[in-house]
């Protein structure tokens, strides 16, 4: 009897336990999904942090540049005052280096000693004499960079406690360097050369000036072309275009262009601008034109969104007081949409600034040691300069590359901040 009454109860309890267990499982699955989500976000943000962190850490040594100061005697007669650029400045510099290290005399030791110094010193000496020929016959004080290995020795990138075979400087070079430190000839000012110098084969002399000027010209061209053309195209499509096959085709085209890989635009630039129209290779104008073709869809899409946001009542009021369609758009709709358009334009230009692949194909990765005078001269751009430096084997370029990336990211952050500010400040809701 008791069995028959207890059986269903136990069954019930079992069922209840099972349901309970199932519920626990289901809740566990819920927690798991939540945990996966958190893990995914932590992974993504962790990668972002690692990326920014490693670049900041590698860039840190490039913030300063180790310089050495020498008093160089420029004897009367060693430089022809009529032709001061013909003097043998390296010899004078070597003489003043030899005065500090009189016991270095074998050719090999002399070579090793000179390896500590950048060869930019002679040019600095020359420029000083060129600027002020009355210095001939006196003593000139010049401050110029140590070489790559000297710089890294000073910053501790090269560990001096390693056995000599495992580091790139030998014991003698360390000893000479210590003498210079003791004599107070070594200093580490901020590395303005990184911004002010043009490119160079030697990391300690290489700077971003050419790349910055080149990027500026390219972005200028990009802006001058894509801003008016983009607005015009968007205004036509949004305000004037009849709904027909041509406008459909244009819209499909714009959407597709926005997703075409950037390197294909590079191929277009190479085949059309360089090969067909015979434009100069490596010139910022070509880069700017290619970038403007890429930026155009972004600007068109942003402008159309901004135009859409202007309420029809504005247009109706303008038409009502006798404005033509063109006047309505030009006097009322466009000015009201302008903040949105500018925001989109800045974002488009920021993308263009970071674009590398198409610029590589039109030759903006050339090695050019002077900033371009105009947008028709060969030049590099900021991202292609980063590419060149990242490819260079010298150790000193690693930190310079990271520093250049920080400069690039700095520009991008500023541009995006301006865009966000403009959106917040001028956005109007109707």
């Amino acid at each position: 009897m008791s069995d028959t009454t207890q059986q269903p109860a136990r069954k019930e309890r079992n069922a209840w336990f099972e349901a309970d267990a199932r519920l626990k499982r289901r809740h566990l699955a819920d927690k798991r999904l939540r945990a996966y989500g958190i893990a995914a976000i932590v992974f993504a943000l962790g990668m972002l942090a690692t990326l920014v962190g490693t670049i900041l850490v590698t860039a840190a040594p490039a913030v300063t540049q180790t310089m050495v100061t020498f008093e160089v005697e420029v004897p009367e007669g060693s430089v022809d005052p009529a032709n001061p650029s013909g003097g043998s400045y390296q010899t004078m510099l070597n003489a003043s280096i030899a005065r500090i290290f009189p016991d270095v005399d074998t050719p090999r030791e002399l070579r090793e000693l000179r390896q500590l110094f950048s060869n930019g010193g002679q040019y600095q000496l020359r420029d000083k004499i060129l600027a002020n020929p009355s210095l001939i016959g006196g003593t000139v004080s010049i401050t110029f960079p140590l070489s790559d290995i000297g710089d890294q020795l000073h910053k501790g990138v090269i560990d001096r406690n390693l056995p000599p075979d495992f580091r790139r400087v030998n014991d003698a070079q360390i000893a000479w360097y210590d003498v210079l430190v003791e004599r107070g000839q070594i200093s580490t000012p901020l590395n303005w050369g990184l911004i002010l110098n043009a490119d160079s084969r030697f990391p300690e002399l290489a700077g971003l000036r050419g790349a910055l000027v080149g990027s500026f010209y390219a972005l200028l061209v990009c802006f001058l072309v894509s801003f008016p053309v983009g607005i015009a195209a968007a205004v036509y499509l949004e305000e004037f275009a009849p709904k027909n096959r041509l406008t459909d085709l244009i819209e499909v085209n714009i959407n597709n262009l926005a997703a075409v890989p950037s390197i294909v635009f590079g191929l277009l630039g190479l085949a059309v601008f360089l090969n067909f129209f015979g434009m100069p290779r490596s010139a910022p104008i070509v880069g700017g034109l290619v970038l403007s073709l890429m930026t155009l869809p972004t600007i068109i899409i942003a402008t159309r969104a901004a135009l859409k946001a202007v309420p029809p009542s504005i247009r109706e009021a303008a038409i009502g007081v006798g404005a033509s369609k063109m006047q309505t758009v030009g006097h009322h709709v466009l000015p009201l949409a302008m903040p949105g358009i500018l925001t989109g334009t800045i974002i488009g230009l920021a993308q263009a600034l970071g674009e590398t692949a198409p610029l590589l194909l039109i030759g903006m990765n050339a090695f050019i040691t002077a900033a371009p005078d105009s947008m028709f001269n060969p030049s590099t751009a900021l991202p292609t300069q980063i590419y060149i430096w990242a490819d260079s084997p010298e150790r000193g370029f690693t930190s310079r590359t990271s520093a250049a990336i920080i400069v690039l990211l700095g520009f991008l952050v500023c541009m995006n901040a301006i865009a966000i500010y403009m959106r917040k400040r001028f956005e109007r809701r109707w």
Partner: protein, 459 residues
């Protein structure tokens, strides 16, 4: 006079035309006649009719000038230089003439070349002078013609609106022209390539080594332009990238939409989007600076041999780049599922996870798939990460620790520093570019279709 200053002069002429037209219309108006358009529109009309033809003339002239001069120059060369010379040699001769003309003389050139250089300089001088004269003549003629139209009945506003409308149309057609330019340049150069290497060999050949085929006796017959290993490398690296990006992007989107509270979401979402704003060159440097050495050390410590440019490093970093793509598309798609569907699932006793898996994901699937397809197209076309972090050797391997090469890497390496346009090596880049363009275009079209269809479901 340079083209820039000429354009500036044309601009100034237009300004003068504007002032002139406005002034003359204003003087007409002051006589008390009823004008159809306000004076400013008469001014605009003259400015546009003067500026646009001259501007177009200068553009066309600049575009045609170098080709015309080159043709004239070649036609004028004596027979002993031009006889039996191929086009590639001809372009070398032309550039030699131009460098002599620019004053950079190496060795003792043929006197005929020096004469040609002098003629080149003379032609260029004549051409630029003719351009200035022609442009100014057109501008002034158009200006005086437009001025003669100023009258009370003249519908200047309608005319100006019409002209502006045409300008707008031309600008929007530029998008079509760009696409057309891409297709034409890719197809024409690829045709030149496929006339030397058969399409079949290119698409299905198993060996890729364009450098070997540089030797003159091997052109086109070496069979070294088989692109299958290159295509495989692209697919392989993209697959690795999606393997990273898809789960991370999807799970973070699910978390942000369904679990996270508003504060976390408004903080994390922009941070994730930063990943999409970082230039790809930075990712490439990150890959060679941090990720590749890390993977190599990890592999070596486990006793595996890892190439320094392993597919894993390039694909993994590319996956990080694609996370925000997937997550923002999935985010939009999941957010767009109506609240009523969630409520229905909760009312039946479903947990959040069950709602997500059985209700939201199926409903949002088209949007997510569209996003994934766009991300794949991004991955295939991505250049800088793979140029820096992936290999150059085309290898058919499924081992992610080995280096593979991709279509974009090959395009860049084939074209960097090379200006000749008739070696199969440079032309091969355009063949690869054509394949890349068609593939990404197809993916984009399919993706947009999928997304579009999905949108129609809830609106």
């Amino acid at each position: 006079m340079s083209a820039t200053s000429l354009l500036a002069i044309v601009l100034i002429l237009s300004l003068i035309g504007y002032l002139w037209g406005r002034a003359s219309a204003a003087s007409l108006k002051s006589t008390g006649q009823g004008m159809h358009s306000i004076p400013a529109y008469h001014g605009y009309f003259i400015a546009l009719s003067c500026g646009i033809p001259a501007f177009l003339l200068v553009l066309v002239w600049l575009a045609a000038q170098s080709t015309v001069i080159d043709t004239l120059l070649i036609a004028g060369l004596p027979a002993h230089i031009t006889d039996g010379v191929e086009t590639s040699r001809m372009s070398l001769i032309l550039s030699e003439i131009k460098s002599i003309a620019g004053g950079r003389i190496f060795g003792t050139p043929d006197p005929a070349l020096i004469a040609a250089a002098e003629r080149y300089n003379a032609l260029r001088g004549t051409a630029s002078l003719a351009m200035v004269v022609a442009a100014l003549a057109v501008a002034i003629a158009a200006m005086s013609f437009a001025r003669s139209r100023v009258s009370p009945e003249f519908r200047a506003r309608n005319r100006v609106d019409g002209i502006l409308r045409w300008i707008l149309i031309v600008c929007s057609i530029l998008a079509i022209l760009t696409t057309l330019g891409i297709i034409l340049s890719l197809v024409i150069e690829s045709m030149a390539f496929f006339s030397r290497v058969s399409v079949f060999d290119f698409l299905f050949g198993m060996e890729w080594s364009p450098q070997i085929a540089m030797r003159a006796d091997q052109v086109g017959s070496s069979g070294a332009f088989g692109a299958v290993p290159v295509f495989w490398g692209t697919i392989f690296i993209s697959a690795i990238a999606m393997f990273v990006a898809l789960p991370v992007g999807l799970f973070s989107a699910i978390y942000l939409v369904e679990y996270a509270d508003k504060r976390v979401r408004s903080f994390v979402k922009p941070l994730l989007e930063i990943l999409a704003g970082i230039p790809t060159i930075v990712y490439g440097f990150f890959a060679i600076l941090t990720v590749a050495p890390f993977i190599r050390d990890l592999g070596t410590s486990m006793g595996l041999s890892v190439a320094s440019n392993s597919a894993l490093a390039a694909g993994g970093v590319m996956g990080i780049m694609l996370i925000p793509f997937i997550s923002s598309f999935a985010d939009d798609a999941i957010s767009a599922v109506p609240q009523s569907m969630r409520d229905g699932a909760y009312a039946l006793g479903a947990t959040k996870a069950e709602t997500v898996r059985q209700v939201l994901l199926p409903a949002a699937l088209p949007g997510i798939v569209g996003g994934v397809l766009l991300a794949v197209s991004r991955a295939i076309g991505e250049t800088m990460i793979v140029v820096m972090a992936a290999g150059l050797m085309a290898k058919l391997t499924a081992n992610p620790l080995e280096g593979v090469t991709t279509v974009t890497v090959q395009i860049v390496t084939l074209l960097i520093g090379d200006t000749e346009f008739d070696s199969p090596k440079t032309l091969a880049a355009f063949g690869l570019g054509l394949v890349l363009f068609i593939t990404t275009l197809a993916l984009n079209i399919v993706a947009l279709q999928v997304v579009k269809r999905y949108r129609e479901r809830y609106e």
